[in-house]
């Protein structure tokens, strides 16, 4: 069984367009176990019931941004070890440094193409 068949992913983005794009890209390389959430809090809630290996989250979201979500994930026993890929429009040093300290696994700058996303995921979980 290939990695892509077993990998479970949660996509978090407040824009349904972005969720659609990411899910579509994941689908194109065979990752089908994908859940999605429109904001951090609902992502955390869903994760409690649907644990995943990798969270792909937007940075700029209302209420709780991507790094705050990461913080919440790392603070919780059940989710602290989950992989985390941050998608951000601006790769500021500030954001990336904070991400590093929180244990972000990788980041991807917008705009990206499916190949770019695949690369960023494979850098975390290995060849799909």
């Amino acid at each position: 069984m290939a990695l892509r068949d077993q990998l479970r992913v949660m996509v978090v983005d407040d824009m349904s367009t972005s969720r659609g794009l990411i899910t579509n890209a994941l689908d194109s390389y065979g990752i089908r176990n994908v859940a999605s959430a429109a904001d951090g809090p609902s992502a955390l809630q869903k994760l409690a019931a649907y644990p995943v290996h990798l969270v792909i989250s937007d940075y700029n979201m209302p209420g709780m941004d991507g790094l705050q979500l990461l913080h919440a994930l790392r603070s919780n026993g059940q989710t602290r070890g989950v992989g985390f890929l941050l998608i951000t429009g601006r790769a500021d040093r500030e954001i990336i440094d904070m991400g590093k300290r929180l244990g972000m696994n990788n980041f991807l700058k917008k705009p990206f193409d499916p190949a770019g996303l695949r690369g960023a995921i494979e850098a975390i979980v290995g060849k799909l």
Binding site: M15, L47, M64, N76, R101, G103, V125
Partner: protein, 777 residues
């Protein structure tokens, strides 16, 4: 299925419209002096999100502009730039252009650089920012080692990734860097989300056979319980005998439920009221809170739940995995005792406690996922055509229902026969369906008002006036078609208000008014119609000049005696233009007459009130829907007509005392001390000559928007019913006094009157001139 990317692209543009709306809202708040960082954040995020999406679709023009706008907003957000009124006006202009670019990208069009260039230049000058080079950041991705086990079953998720593989400092709770979290979002949200308030009950429920025998269904009870609060349900199947010993008529299942509710125990008991004595029921208050109810860490349960919830998301894969789940997961060691085991449920306890038996423990009802209140309500985007088809079908249903009613009446069935009562219910349902369908078509008028904001900004700039738009009732819901077709007339009215209604700044200051002119746009529901008002606090209509102009243009005779409102209404005459010199704004060949006819085409009316020195208000009144109306079916001169019910104040039978002759050809009707002109509907529509006498005749008292009334004489009132509006204008153009047509229950076509138009054009002849009578005699 069509191309998924095309679909995502289409939904991106719809999402953009929403973002543009919140962008406008945010800017408006900033303009009103709101300095809340979240407001600025909303504005920033809207631009940012549009840029992000545009980037994904390679919409370069949009990205370029959004990027500059975003950069400027980022300066504001960071507190490095404090926008003043001028800056916010520029931001509004940027938002408008951003909207143009989005729509241009959607329709594969180009926006001229001449439009974007100057604004961008101003933006850079204002914020004073050069394009910054983004530094290249060094970042080494941190790999996860994923151990999926050997069986290919679902991985043991919680322990799966090796934390030591992370290159950064061990991200345990102690060493996690502090991060500012939103006040309403405590860090361990996940735990918080899982934890319950301690309030609630545990319920043990074991139905006896008699419960099933009397037609009760446990699932319905659980659903009723779910209405009290979040519940978790565990089915206990330990008592199930082997298949060969199974008696299909005997129940073997029992349930343990946890319900989190603020309600008292009584409320929980009431759920089981009807099965009292038919089951074993134990209800105990929840103690200890969280531990009881946190999703069980026991793998079997978690995994089962995960699959339950994952099913709709990843159905094709989740489903076949299900059998694996029970077999693979069951022997897994239980890190903690399953929480359900703590339930004080009596003798069956052991069967739940033991992990291996968990395979039989199927959570039959997944706890209801309660959406967080902050989340927007779920919506579905539907092609408008589909809704229109539905509207048409409902229209046909209304006609069909009317025909059926008619047949039933003709068949001579008594009113209390089952068919008649059934039909009555059918009628009610038809109405409910119709109302619901109309509600689908309705949308807040906000989008239209926001477009008017832009018109005010642009038009005030071009005539050099300072104008502020106030809006009220933005959430008033109006039929989508009405909103679309209102855009042009409203645009013109707003331009008019800015250009003609408001005085120049100097004049305003002279007359002691504020520098800034005010234009107010309101919408509200009023007695089954929507009333939209455009008002300004300008000088009011210069009636002297209006009259002079009308005389010059030979629209009225030089010696005409006109009331103030008559003069105001001259503005609606074709070919009338008041501005002494036509400005570059309103003088676009569109007069108020065009506005009036487009409002009329929507079944609406428009009226003016003006006060000298204080301003002018245009009031548009529109029907809620364009598809059906409640009407009174009347007969006159052997013709059947429909009069809109909302125009009829009352109906009465005339007596000799009510009727007074006035002038050579007209009558008035005396109603409660007032006099109302009498109009003969038959004569007004040319069906017949005025009658000899109207004593004993039936009249409909018609009320109009402006408060004027008229009595409309008809021969008989036949029915009061809902009719489907079928437009006539496509085939016949505008017919004076007639709004539309409809199909009655017997298949006959009847005209729907436009009472206001009819009264406005009425001759009022209800008597034949004496000489004619003499001739006849």
């Amino acid at each position: 299925m069509s191309d998924p990317m095309a679909e995502i692209r289409a939904s991106f543009f719809i999402e953009c419209e929403e973002l543009l709306e919140s962008l406008q809202d945010g800017l408006q708040l900033m303009d009103d002096g709101d300095t809340d960082p979240e407001t600025i954040n909303i504005v920033f995020r809207a631009v940012h999100s549009i840029k992000g999406g545009a980037g994904a679709f390679g919409l370069d023009d949009l990205v370029r502009f959004a990027h500059r706008f975003e950069t400027a907003m980022d300066e504001v957000r960071a507190g490095r730039f404090h926008p003043d009124g001028e800056a916010i006006r520029l931001f509004f202009a940027c938002a408008d252009i951003l909207g143009d670019l989005v729509r241009a990208a959607r329709d594969d069009e180009q926006v001229d650089d001449a439009v974007t260039g100057p604004v961008l230049e101003k933006l850079d000058k204002l914020v004073g920012l050069e394009e910054e080079e983004e530094e290249v950041l060094d970042f080494t991705p941190a790999t996860l080692s994923l151990d999926f086990g050997d069986g290919g079953g679902l991985p043991d998720l919680p322990d799966l990734p090796d934390l030591s593989a992370l290159p950064a400092a061990d991200p345990s709770e102690d060493t996690l860097p502090s991060l500012e979290l939103p006040a309403d979002m405590p860090a361990p949200v996940a735990e918080a989300a899982m934890e319950s308030t301690a309030k609630g009950f545990t319920v043990h429920f074991k139905p006896e056979n008699a419960l099933y025998a009397s037609g009760n269904e446990p699932l319905y009870l659980f659903r009723a319980l779910r209405d009290l609060g979040d519940i978790s349900v565990t089915c206990h199947c330990g008592d199930l005998p082997d298949l060969d010993q199974l008696d299909p008529d005997t129940g073997h299942l029992s349930w343990n439920l946890t319900v989190h509710t603020e309600e008292a125990e009584q409320a929980v008991r009431e759920v089981f009221e009807f099965v009292d004595g038919l089951c074993v029921l134990e209800i105990k208050p929840l103690t200890g809170g969280g531990a009881m109810v946190a999703p069980a860490p026991a793998p079997a349960l978690v995994v089962e739940q995960a699959v339950e919830i994952a099913a709709p998301e990843a159905a094709p894969l989740a489903a076949p995995q299900k059998p694996q789940v029970s077999t693979e997961a069951a022997p897994a060691p239980t890190p903690k005792p399953a929480p359900v085991a703590k339930l004080p449920v009596g003798s069956d306890d052991d069967t739940i406690d033991a992990a291996p038996k968990d395979e039989k423990t199927a959570p039959s009802v997944p706890a209801k996922a309660t959406g967080t209140p902050t989340q927007p309500r779920a919506t579905v985007r539907v092609d408008l055509e589909r809704i229109d088809r539905l509207v048409n079908l409902v229209g046909e249903l209304v006609i069909n229902q009317a025909m059926l009613s008619q047949s039933v009446t003709e068949a001579g069935l008594p009113p209390n026969s089952p068919v008649s009562t059934g039909l009555e219910e059918f009628l009610q349902l038809t109405r409910d369906i119709q109302e619901s369908v109309m509600m689908i078509r309705a949308q807040p008028i906000k989008s239209l008002f926001q477009r008017m904001g832009r018109i005010v900004r642009e038009s005030s700039a071009s005539v050099g006036k300072e104008v502020r738009l106030y809006t009220d009732g933005e959430n008033t819901e109006v039929d989508k078609t009405v909103i679309e077709r209102l855009a042009d007339p409203l645009t013109h009215m707003i331009r008019n208000a800015v250009d003609h209604g408001l005085e120049s700044t100097e004049k305003r200051l002279e007359s002691g008014k504020s520098r800034e002119g005010h234009v107010t746009l309101t919408a509200q529901h009023r007695s089954g119609r929507i009333v939209i008002e455009v008002s300004d606090d300008g000088a009011g209509i210069n009636r002297e000049r209006v009259k002079q102009k009308a005389i010059e243009k030979e629209l009225i005779p030089a010696d005409a005696q006109l009331s103030d409102s008559d003069i105001d209404n001259l503005l609606f005459l074709p070919g009338f233009s008041t501005a002494a010199e036509i400005s570059n704004l309103s003088g676009r060949g569109v007069g108020m007459d065009v506005v009036k006819s487009s409002i009329q085409a929507l079944g609406g009316r428009i009226s003016i009130t003006s006060h000298e020195g204080k301003g002018t208000t245009f009031s548009i009144s529109l029907p809620l829907t364009l598809a059906v109306l409640d009407g009174m079916v009347v007969r006159v001169a052997d013709e059947t007509l429909v009069v809109p019910l909302n125009a009829i104040l009352e109906t009465l039978t005339l007596t000799d005392d009510d009727l007074k002759a006035l002038g050579p050809e007209t009558h008035v009707v005396q109603i409660r001390g007032g006099f109302v002109p009498l109009l003969d509907l038959g004569a007004e529509l040319g069906y017949r000559k005025p009658q000899d006498s109207y004593v004993g005749g039936i009249v409909l008292l018609i009320g109009q928007e402006d408060g004027n009334r008229a009595a409309l004489a008809v021969d008989a009132i036949e029915d009061q019913r809902q009719v489907v509006i079928k437009g006539l204008e496509g085939s016949y153009g505008r017919v004076p006094g007639i709004a539309a047509a409809t199909i009655l229950g017997d298949g006959q076509i009847a005209l729907i009157l436009d009472p206001t138009d009819l009264v406005g054009q009425a001759s009022g002849r209800t008597r034949v001139r004496q000489p004619q009578q003499a001739l006849v005699g």
